[in-house]
């Protein structure tokens, strides 16, 4: 039945219209009357249609129109259902199969938890949640991925990095699909993370996005940045530079500079001769003009340094300028020479390694380029100036030969440990089972890069972290060190080993945890005897293998009171520790005898004894 001209549907529509207008007006509703008349021929063909016709006729003169119209509409609706069609004549095409998508069996609770985990990533870093990663192939999770993929934040960055590590190329098409191409607020971060991991592999797609002027600017810029990895893109980038304006033009230029395109050299040279030279170009470029410019800048600074009495103000930011340049090793050497000529200093104000910015530039080269020349540069600098370039040397050694990196670089614990701890702290384990090193402590939309290192924590690293030769008796610390800075550094070296071991135990695989726990426990026992900090006691409580003895507890109390290291609560610590009650009583008695003048401590001891008495009762 043709819907538009069908008298049945027209009658049904009129019944609805009359009801909406109010039955009180039905008597004057000529449209309804007309529709009923037009329906009459159809009513003769079908008994039920006939019944509807009769009911509608009766409605016109009914005393109770409201009730009767209900019956008419109810019957009309029922008839409409029976008349309903279902065919869809649209032109259709199949969709291609996506090998990545594999449904995962999940309850509603599991699905909601996984979705919620992903939703929260944009607000905070979250610990690794196996279910969320394993379920990513399920089509019901794809919407969550699409919602999050373009967002900023360290949680998102870590999540995407882990996803790529787990699924590799298979997830890349989805990441491209998640791009909201025409939304002006889109970040294009998906392109950045793909290019950070796969470089030129998806070059065709980068070009497609970069050259499409309808695509939103941020995504185009991310795609232009990604084009730097393929030298054949030079012409296209040059066209983009010439024909575009603003940020897109600038992005094209930076990419040309990063790929060391000959066509960019003249632009860089010109930019560096201006009264306000372009700092970004100077940092990114490896051209002769850039090299000469930064060499002069640094040599001037070195001259100033040699001729300045006292402390030279930090020259940190300008070490960026030495990045991305293979022939600038001589400048690093000059700085190495300068720093080595000055008295050795222990910077106890910060955790970052000494000569941080100098070394960071060298390390950045390894992330961005990884060329042999950059490794050689670090190696050569370390050979000549080991105290200055230990940080970058350890980083490079960890990539090239992790099985003995710690032994090779750590020649003096007081000087070198800080650098090693800083690097080790950036380790993480991706879902594919590889240990990797992040560029920054917390990944974000500007820093997705990481370098794959090894599948098992090297014995060399465990030996370094559990080296008991660094442990000093806290009663004799001052005898062993000449200066307060050395003493402080030695204490930090002992303490940071516990912290680093904790971090490694958090990230290590199940197949390794027993080995690492056993080594950590040995170290903790040694610490507990001579330098009993609370981290060591916590270790021992978790996997010490045997309860703490009286001397260790007593030592801990004495250490805490003498050194006054941070907050100390005897009762809380005792409750947390795995101490047998009889041992605890003996310790309490000893403390009451030896520290009778320390009322604060005695009151804590009394609380512990009271709790023990209450338990006995």
């Amino acid at each position: 039945m043709e819907v538009k001209t069908n008298p049945f549907y027209e009658l049904r529509n009129r019944l609805y219209a009359s009801a909406a207008a109010g039955c009180a007006l039905i008597a004057e509703d000529f449209r309804l009357k007309r529709a009923i008349e037009a329906f009459q021929p159809l009513s003769e063909a079908n008994k039920v249609f006939g019944r509807l016709y009769a009911m509608c006729n009766a409605l016109l003169t009914s005393e109770n129109k409201a009730a009767d119209i209900i019956d008419c509409i109810a019957l009309a609706d029922a008839l409409a259902v029976t008349q309903g069609t279902f065919a869809d004549g649209s032109e259709t095409a199949p969709v291609p199969a996506d090998d990545f998508i594999k449904p995962v069996r999940m309850t509603v609770n599991e699905l909601e938890s996984n979705r919620e985990y992903i939703r929260k990533l944009q607000y905070t870093d979250q610990s690794y949640y196996v279910s969320a990663y394993d379920s990513m192939t399920d089509p019901r999770m794809i919407g969550s991925l699409f919602n999050i993929a373009g967002k900023n934040g360290s949680g998102v960055a870590t999540f995407l990095s882990n996803l790529l590590a787990k699924y590799g190329d298979d997830i890349v098409p989805l990441l491209f699909q998640s791009l909201d191409l025409y939304n002006k607020n889109a970040t294009g971060n998906q392109v950045r993370i793909i290019s950070a991991n796969f470089r030129e592999k998806y070059n065709d797609r980068y070009i497609q996005l970069a050259e499409d002027e309808t695509v939103t600017a941020n995504i185009r810029i991310a795609a232009i940045e990604a084009m730097q990895y393929e030298p054949k893109n030079e012409e296209r980038l040059l066209d983009l530079y010439k024909l575009s304006k603003g940020k897109i033009k600038n992005a094209a230029l930076i990419s040309l500079v990063r790929m060391n395109a000959p066509s960019a050299e003249a632009i860089v040279e010109k930019a560096l001769t201006k009264s306000k030279p372009d700092y970004e170009l100077a940092c990114e470029s490896d051209s002769k003009a850039a090299e000469d410019y930064v060499r002069k800048l640094h040599f001037d600074k070195l001259y100033e340094a040699y001729n300045t009495a006292g402390e030279l103000p930090k020259f940190s930011a300008n070490f960026d300028l030495l990045g991305n340049k293979k022939n600038i090793g001589d400048v690093f050497e000059k700085w190495g020479e300068y720093y080595s000529s000055r008295p050795l200093k222990y910077d106890i104000s910060s955790r970052t390694p000494d000569y941080y910015y100098e070394n960071e530039t060298l390390i950045e080269n390894l992330y961005k380029h990884g060329d042999k020349e950059y490794f050689d540069m670090i190696r050569s600098l370390y050979e000549k100036y080991p105290n200055v370039y230990a940080y970058s040397a350890f980083f490079a050694a960890l990539i090239e030969a992790p099985e003995n990196a710690c032994k090779k670089i750590c020649k003096n614990h007081l000087i070198n440990d800080k650098s090693l701890f800083y690097v080790i702290d950036k380790l993480f384990r991706s879902p594919d089972g590889w240990y990797r090193i992040k560029k920054v402590p917390y990944m974000n939309e500007d820093n997705y890069e990481n370098i794959k290192l090894f599948r098992k924590i090297p014995d060399d690293m465990i030996e370094f972290l559990t080296d008991t030769s660094v442990i000093y008796d806290f009663n004799e610390l001052e005898k062993n060190f000449k200066s307060h800075e050395e003493l402080w550094t030695a204490e930090e070296n002992m303490r940071w080993r516990c912290v680093a071991l904790s971090s490694i135990l958090c990230i290590c695989g199940d197949d390794e945890s027993e080995r690492i726990k056993a080594a950590a426990a040995e170290y903790a026992w040694a610490m507990a005897k001579k330098y009993p900090i609370s981290q060591a006691l916590t270790f021992l409580k978790e996997f010490g293998g045997r309860p703490l003895d009286e001397d260790i507890i007593y030592n801990y109390v004495k250490y805490s009171k003498i050194t006054m290291k941070g907050h100390f609560s005897f009762s809380n610590t005792m409750e947390r520790s795995d101490v047998p009650e009889d041992v605890l009583r003996k310790v309490c008695q000893r403390i009451m005898n030896d520290f009778s003048d320390n009322s604060d401590l005695i009151s804590h001891v009394k609380i512990v004894l009271e709790k023990l008495d209450a338990k006995e009762q």
Binding site: V3, Y9, Y16, A19, A20, A21, G22, C23, A24, L25, K65, A66, A67, I69, I70, I73, A74, D77, A78, L79, A80, V81, T82, Q83, G84, T85, F86, A87, D88, G89, S90, E91, T92, A93, P94, V95, P96, A97, D98, D99, I101, P103, R105, M106, T107, V108, N109, P139, R140, I142, G143
Partner: protein
């Protein structure tokens, strides 16, 4: 209802809405849950009506009034019949529950509304926020592997009593139910059971499920028409239909093909993203059966299918 139909939708104002809310409350006080729910829907629709309502809005309100009118009329006839016959015990009639009755399993058993040793496989599961009934419903659809009947379990959690009632979740095993109690109804009857054994579902069970699917869209639509023509029916008929392929039109909507027959796919409130999810896997499934709801669209005078899951020879893919 009488007021709205006599004077028209234009006569409804805020004061009238307040009056209707009072009436709805009274229906609740007399424990007439279904009429109360319809009344609440009418009040909601009238409150949300725009300044210049289109046909869809006004027709929706009229349809609700008709539904309420039919419910009242049928309930009145039901009660009159009971008074005449003097038979006060419940019988196999959906009106018993709509008029506030609560079925006990023993009553259902007495009326013979049960089956023994029924093998059930869950086809889909959803948690539904039933605002009109002021409750959450954990709704599962199950296939009787022997007869091919599709049943429904509803774990109803009223808002006020939510913390006292445990939520249910999706099930993936094959359940063999000792005594399966059936509530009155025709298609997609509600069921309950107390004792069952569960077994890991195997490929033979999924193949058995596939064998129970309708082999043509027209057969499924015919079943749906029979059900949906009743004024007090649920909004859709849950069916399992075999398909050869699922393809997509230029505007992005899906079309399921079974032989020469086709039907459009659309989302529904209970499974709002199902079509999107299905599109992601459609290219990789070469045939099977779609389990979903057949809805009648009164504006377009046609049926569409809202997919809830896809049954294959190896598994049931929830959407």
């Amino acid at each position: 209802m009488h007021d709205i139909l006599t004077n028209g939708i234009g006569s409804v104002n805020k004061a009238a809405c307040q009056q209707y809310k009072g009436l709805a409350k009274q229906l609740g006080d007399y424990y007439l849950p279904e009429p109360q729910a319809i009344m609440n829907e009418i009040i909601q629709a009238v409150s949300n009506i725009s300044e210049e309502p289109d046909d869809r809005e006004t027709n929706n309100i009229i349809a609700l009034c008709v539904r309420l009118g039919s419910a009242v009329k049928k309930s009145r006839d039901y009660i009159d019949a009971k008074l005449e016959s003097g038979e006060v015990l419940p019988e196999d009639n959906i009106l018993y529950e709509e008029m506030g009755g609560v079925w006990k399993l023993s009553q259902l058993k007495e009326l013979g509304l049960f089956r023994e040793n029924t093998a059930l496989l869950q086809l889909s599961f959803a948690r539904i926020d039933d605002v009109m009934h002021q409750s959450f419903v954990d709704e599962g659809y199950w296939l009787d592997l022997d007869t091919g009947d599709i049943f429904r379990t509803d774990n109803i959690r009223p808002y006020k009593a939510m913390k006292y009632i445990r939520t249910e979740d999706a099930k993936f095993d094959l359940y063999v139910v000792q005594e399966l109690y059936l509530y009155p109804g025709s298609l997609n009857r509600r069921v309950r059971w107390e004792v069952s054994e569960s077994f890991t579902a195997e490929e033979k069970d999924y193949r058995q499920a596939l064998s129970k699917a309708e082999t043509s869209i027209s057969a499924a639509v015919k079943k749906a028409k029979n059900e949906l023509k009743n004024t007090l029916s649920r909004p859709y008929a849950a069916v399992l239909i075999r398909f050869d392929s699922i393809e997509y039109a230029a505007d992005g909507h899906g079309v399921m093909k079974c032989g020469e027959e086709t039907i459009a796919l659309s989302d529904c409130r209970e499974y709002p993203d199902a079509c999107k999810t299905l599109k992601l896997i459609a290219g990789g499934i070469g045939g099977g059966a779609v389990f979903g709801g057949l809805f009648y669209n009164a504006q377009e005078h046609r049926f569409t299918l809202s997919p809830f899951s896809v049954v294959t020879e190896k598994d049931i893919i929830r959407l």
